[in-house]
Symmetry: C2
Subunit: 335 residues, 2 copies
């Protein structure tokens, strides 16, 4: 690998001149500039980023911390990072361990953190956020100064609820993961609240038997299957007729079980998912909420880069638009 010294030697100039040509900071005579550019081309020289960062004492690396990653979101983050000349470094973490993240700041590898689907106690991330550039993407922990990019979970569910209520549904149900002592699953709380809010507005009562928050961690899939089995044990006229699920996975598990139990979807019960990730795998396909995962990842990196480069960020909380997608699981005329 050619170094800046090789280039300087070949061009017959000093390393400083090479650096100046490449960074287009200072004026260099056309003659020398050409000599340098020729030498660069001949050697296939490319500045070593490590050396540059060390010298400039700057850091253009973003640490992505997550316990699980959505491909589209990561792709969006990668896209924006490349565009801005930043690099992404990766760290998987268990839900309750973010010490590793701190390590990357301390050892100089990263200059900012993007938390994807973060879950943790407020105090920890707040403390971290006060000291370092941090932005949360999708799932987040809510506190006053938090920087985040997400969607309005409650509004999305409220829209679904309104739609189903308009169609005459009255016995609503909700299935989603439960929060725990040490942390809140924000998206699940928000989605449940969206349902409650919409029903309250219309004066439709919510039977608390039908609000199921299964224990976490654990398989949401099997939990949803069990819930369906319990409902099947009820007399048909007592079962919910509008089932709002916190994810496509949950909706799929529940719906397939209900169908096996003899129910007809959407005739006997409408059912909705969330994410539009697995919605088309179902039969009938799921009505769901489409999230702009790619854009969320990209927008998150853009905000983080702004913070890292010292700019004042006016919008610390960005909520992107979701989209309701209606399909056969709520509309009998569709597939």
């Amino acid at each position: 690998m050619a170094t800046i010294q090789d280039v300087a030697k070949l061009a017959g100039v000093s390393t400083a001149t090479v650096s100046r040509v490449l960074n287009e900071n200072y004026k260099v005579s056309d003659k020398r500039r050409q000599l340098v550019l020729d030498a660069v081309r001949e050697l296939g020289y490319r500045p070593n980023i490590i050396g540059r960062n060390l010298s400039r004492s700057e850091n253009r690396t973003i640490l992505v911390v997550s316990s699980w990653i959505d491909d589209d979101m990561l792709h969006g983050a990668s896209y924006a990072a490349k565009e801005l000349g930043y690099d992404l470094i990766l760290s998987y973490t268990t839900e309750e361990d973010d010490k590793d993240a701190l390590k990357y700041f301390e050892n100089g590898l990263a200059g900012g953190i993007m938390f994807i689907n973060f879950r943790g106690t407020d105090s920890r991330i707040a403390k971290l956020g006060a000291e370092y550039p941090i932005v949360q993407c999708a799932e987040y922990v809510d506190f006053p100064e938090a920087c985040l990019v997400s969607i309005r979970d409650d509004d999305a569910i409220a829209e679904l609820t309104d739609m189903l209520a308009d169609e005459g549904r009255r016995r609503f149900a909700f299935i989603g993961p439960g929060s725990r002592q040490n942390y809140t699953i924000h998206y699940a709380e928000a989605r449940e609240q969206g349902l409650r809010r919409a029903l309250q507005k219309r004066g439709i009562p919510l039977d608390e038997r039908f609000v199921v928050r299964y224990p976490t961690p654990g398989s949401s899939f099997e939990a949803a299957e069990r819930t369906a089995d319990e409902w099947l044990a009820l007399p048909a006229e007592e079962r919910p007729d509008a089932i709002i699920c916190a994810s496509d996975t949950i909706a799929l598990a529940c719906m397939n079980r209900l169908i096996r139990g003899g129910m007809s979807i959407p005739r006997d019960a409408a059912i909705t998912g969330f994410d539009n990730r697995r919605a088309v795998y179902a039969n009938p396909k799921l009505t769901t909420v489409d999230q702009p995962f790619f854009e969320m990842g990209a927008e998150c990196v853009r905000m983080l880069v702004n913070i890292m480069s010292g700019k004042e960020v006016e919008e610390k909380r960005i909520f992107l638009d979701h989209k309701i997608i209606v399909r056969g699981s709520t509309d009998p005329t569709l597939e």
Copy 2:
């Protein structure tokens, strides 16, 4: 951020001594060692990796190149990397552009590349592989000196085929993505060949009308739906009764369409997926091939680290074990 000099000053020793204590290379008197350790603790010092790498002229960063990423595989890679003290940096690439990858070598950011689900022409990656440490994970381009971690796609499909043939199925079909001029989709080829091999061995003919390789890129989901529609147009007794699909997604799309068209699965036709990624979302659930994604990612990083650290790698091609999972889409007694 405290530097090694701060530590040295506080401990009243030289930076070299601090470095020695921290790297446990040379002998240091207990007295000074303690002084250093105390200073390190007090300052919360952690060696700057950038400086260390620069000084050692070594690179412990692995570039992950991919056009799409499986969460488990990435998690496995991350796990092994952390274990070995390596870092993962990320680059999404379109299928036909790996110039970006080269860039990371040239600018010193990465010391090795892990290609996830790589597709490209042999010559390009072969040329790259001759010069730099490179390992391919899962999908791969096959050439003499290629380093890769994958599974035996052909064997897996052959096992499925044998199983279905034993159960009396005779009219086999295959649906998978098609290769293109400039590159081969290795896994699709291998899976189709696995079917052909198994049938040939038993003398069961394969109706070429039922070998569908849809154009790529494009939505495999919709292509599979269309294929199902075409088959539904045939008289019932002419339709395939054993449908081998190259992925769970394809199997789901095809099966749901056949069911909507009035067929009963698995009575009228058995159907199999691949990956065990979406298999349980189906109704009935899919018989499929489970791939050890996490282990593949981890093993790939381990091999790459061996190459990067100059060790002789005896196994350049590692094939991990797959697992056949039988479910309701082929076995009427199961869910």
